[in-house]
């Protein structure tokens, strides 16, 4: 293999791409190619490792005592730990005739010392290891756009003027810099405002505002901003959410440029924004339905492009919320809009729903209103959503069910009942209600009910223990030697990991009075409140993300083949990295369960 090919080969293996050109040159200069027959033991607890092996062709098995725990194949390297710590608990045996590169221990250790991020990969703690492996996954699998950060896109130079600057003068500067908008700073009641063509048109042309007058008063504020190192995808979400055409880009709060929607869209062939506009402009239910179908196509395309799943989930949430809101406004007469509050609950409230999920929605009605007025509208609402392709909820948790469409005082009564002597069903009802998010109507009502939940549960240790207990109800599918416990090669990731994390975090959030609804934000708040240690919380969030990712990947594969969804994933379909991540995630889940048992004194309740 020529130097060039060898370099390309090495760079394709994580984490070798982190090495500088000079370092990789050194590594290549120090490597030999070796050939081993099947059944050769490369090293074992008795004979220490002399090389880092990088497989060109063939397979090697790692054995703990007599159990095969891992298989390495083309492009895998092993075993850094054995070199770093000078010993190995496992034996490495050639399973299939092997051709590999060998990098001598001393050369490998020298590389570790010369490159901090390379070293960090091998020595860092688990959360970082997963993160770093995923980052690598993104860069290889994701289309450039999805991984691109705001700073990677073309940014227009901003035209920044003081509030006293005349409109004409500001326009000249804007023309000169070919900017598309003007940033006004140090305004009367704002630090930054924005003036766009349409603002000038409206004030100067239509309202005959003096073009030589100060620009300050006509600026729009506050401005929407995004940091340069944020993902472009988040900029897209922001465009969609605020229905805007440009966003001000900041670096540590300082304005550095303007990102235009057009530039972004030219990257992004699927025009998500257009769906949002379609939803906003829809005037009939049919038009709205069309927009909701377009969304499904976009999701398929995004997935085909390999977009990270939690971005897809965020996008689905963002757009579904808009559909809900629009539909509410279409079906319910205007005078009734603000006398009620439409909420989504459970996974939708946590913004963790994937693909088409069951409806989990409810309506809270003002105590002064006659609840029966809403009944026909809500029945219609559920029907239309079903027609749009949102499957009905099996537990009938939908606005068409009178239990989930009632006055505020009735909810208050239920909350009291849920909290005293709860059955398992009551616990789950409270749980999904606690995750609720307002999508239309009067948000204050939901806030008031949530406040009453906090009030009811505060200091109720026995209740909290019963609530949290559900999180440890299922065994984590991982054995003593970190072997996965599968049934017919299938593992239930929901029972095994997703639910324990969601319920555990929900319990801690309820106890701590945290209002965020999505699991990751709740985890952040728990760090902030000093309940979770930052390193552990980071690992937990990563484990959660990993499990959701693996489940979605499995589901999408099944949706392609037309088989039904469940929470079982087939471990034979996972690659080595995914298996590692899955094991690591379950280890973290176990650690979290221990923490919960201790925190809520779960041994005291049975």
């Amino acid at each position: 293999m020529s130097m060039y090919d060898l370099e390309a080969f090495l760079r394709s293996i994580h984490p070798f791409q982190l090495l500088s050109k000079q370092e990789i040159g050194k590594a290549i200069g120090a490597m030999n190619i070796a050939y081993y027959k099947k059944d050769t033991t490369l090293f074992s607890p008795q004979s220490s490792a002399e090389f880092l092996y990088i497989i060109i062709k063939g397979e090697v098995g790692e054995y703990y005592e007599d159990e095969l725990i891992k298989v390495y194949s083309k492009g895998n390297s092993f075993d850094a730990d054995a070199l770093i710590y000078g010993k190995s608990d496992d034996s490495f045996v050639v399973l299939e005739e092997l051709i590999c590169y060998e990098l001598k221990k001393v050369d490998f250790l020298t590389l570790l010392d010369s490159n901090a991020s390379f070293k960090a990969y091998f020595i860092q703690d688990l959360a970082n290891k997963i993160q770093s492996a995923k980052q690598k996954e993104y860069t290889t699998e994701l289309s450039g756009f999805m991984m691109a950060r705001v700073q990677d896109s073309y940014l227009h130079e901003p035209t920044i003027v003081e509030k006293e600057c005349s409109i004409m003068d500001a326009l000249r500067q804007m023309e000169h810099k070919k900017s598309s908008c003007i940033i006004v700073q140090n305004g009367d009641d704002y630090t930054h405002g924005i003036v766009t063509d349409s603002v000038v048109r409206r004030h100067v042309l239509f309202n005959e505002y003096d073009k030589n007058a100060a620009i300050g008063p006509i600026a729009l504020h506050p401005i929407i901003t995004i940091e340069v190192d944020d993902y472009l995808f988040n900029a897209l979400l922001s465009f969609t959410k605020h229905s805007i055409k440009r966003i001000v880009v900041t670096r540590k709060g300082e304005i550095v440029g303007i990102l235009e929607q057009l530039d972004l869209l030219s990257y992004f062939a699927n025009h998500t924004y257009l769906v949002a506009v379609q939803i906003r402009k829809a005037e009939t239910i049919d038009e709205l339905k069309q927009a909701s179908f377009d969304l499904i196509n976009i999701i398929k395309k995004l997935h085909a492009k390999g977009t990270k799943v939690d971005y897809i989930a965020k996008l689905i949430s963002e757009i579904n919320e808009k559909i809900y809101e629009k539909l509410y406004h279409m079906i319910v007469p205007k005078e009734l809009w603000h006398k009620a509050c439409l909420i989504v609950m459970g996974s939708e409230g946590r913004k963790e729903q994937m693909l088409k999920t069951d409806q989990d929605n409810a309506l809270i009605i003002d105590d002064d209103m006659d609840a029966s007025v809403y009944e026909p509208y809500m029945k219609r609402f559920t029907e239309v959503l079903i027609d749009f392709g949102f499957p009905p909820c099996e537990g009938n948790i939908m606005v068409s069910n009178a239990y989930w469409c009632k006055p505020m005082r009735e909810y208050k009564k239920e909350i009291t009942r849920w909290c005293d002597m709860p059955s398992m069903e009551d616990v789950m009802n409270l749980a999904i209600f606690f995750d609720a998010l307002c999508v239309a109507g009067e948000a204050k009502m939901l806030a008031e009910l949530k406040a009453s939940i906090f009030e009811r549960t505060r200091g109720q240790d026995v209740f909290m223990a019963n609530f949290a207990k559900a999180a440890v109800a299922f065994e984590t599918p991982i054995g003593m030697f970190t072997n996965l416990i599968a049934n017919n090669n299938k593992i239930d990731v929901k029972k095994g990991g997703i639910f324990p994390i969601v319920q555990g975090i929900r319990s801690l959030s309820l106890q701590q009075g945290i209002e965020e609804t999505d699991t990751v934000s709740r985890i952040k708040e728990l760090i902030h409140k000093g309940i979770l240690d930052e390193d552990f919380a980071g690992a937990l969030a990563e484990a959660f993300d990993t499990l959701l990712n693996l489940r979605l990947k499995d589901r999408l594969a099944r949706s392609a083949s037309g088989t039904a969804f469940d929470n079982l994933i087939d471990i034979t379909a996972l690659n080595q990295l995914e298996l590692e991540l899955l094991k690591d995630s379950f280890k973290i889940v176990n650690k979290f369960k221990k923490f919960l048992s201790h925190h809520f004194k779960l041994s005291m309740v049975s």
């Binding site: 090919d5 030999n32 190619i33 050939y35 081993y36 005739e97 590169y101």
Partner: protein
């Protein structure tokens, strides 16, 4: 017997004692694999453009001690051969003088046997330079990989004809083919063939 005699005669012709090492001892488990890129296929008039060589020690290819040199040709390379080996005139601007390259090469290989694919040609090319220089031809034992392959294969299809094309052998032996053909790359692949053939009794 005849080989030893010829070798003896060849040795006697050596006119520079500094090159005695070519007839000396070498580490038993080591061989050299080498390949050359040339301006054409006629050893009489064509010239060497690059030499790639590697040591094999036991079952390891010592890529960390590789030998790769580009040689300045006496006149411009013709277009046709550029298309084959993709070495352009500009690539050889910093190449070494042919005699320097050969001297370095001889020091690299010492008395070790040389392995190659159609090695006869490569050895002829080398001889073209060392004959006038030292009075001898390359004395090292020559091992032809396609020959070993042929002999192992023929046991099982005694009547058949055996396809000895490079890529066919690589594929038949289940070896990975790397990128483009250049002297060093070909030497690495030839080395793999050699090691694999040493380790199997049948194909």
């Amino acid at each position: 017997m005849l080989k030893r005699l010829l070798n003896h005669l060849n040795h006697k012709k050596l006119n520079d004692e500094r090159y005695e090492f070519l007839f000396g001892d070498y580490p038993e488990d080591e061989v050299i694999v080498f390949d050359t890129e040339t301006t054409g296929l006629n050893p009489k008039k064509d010239e060497i453009l690059s030499i790639g060589a590697l040591k094999i020690k036991g079952n390891k290819i010592l890529t960390s001690e590789k030998f790769e040199l580009f040689v300045k040709p006496s006149c411009d390379i013709n277009e046709e051969s550029i298309k084959i080996h993709q070495i352009r005139n500009i690539d050889l601007q910093n190449g070494c003088e042919p005699l320097d390259a050969i001297v370095q090469f001889l020091h690299f290989i010492g008395a070790r046997p040389v392995v190659g694919y159609y090695i006869e040609f490569d050895v002829k090319m080398i001889n073209k330079y060392i004959k006038p220089l030292l009075g001898i031809t390359l004395p090292n034992r020559q091992i032809e990989v396609s020959g070993i392959y042929h002999d192992k294969k023929i046991k099982f299809i005694p009547e058949g004809t055996i396809d000895l094309r490079f890529d066919v052998i690589m594929k038949d032996l289940g070896l990975p083919i790397f990128g483009k053909h250049d002297a060093l790359n070909d030497a690495v692949m030839t080395a793999m063939m050699y090691i694999k053939l040493q380790n199997i009794s049948k194909i």
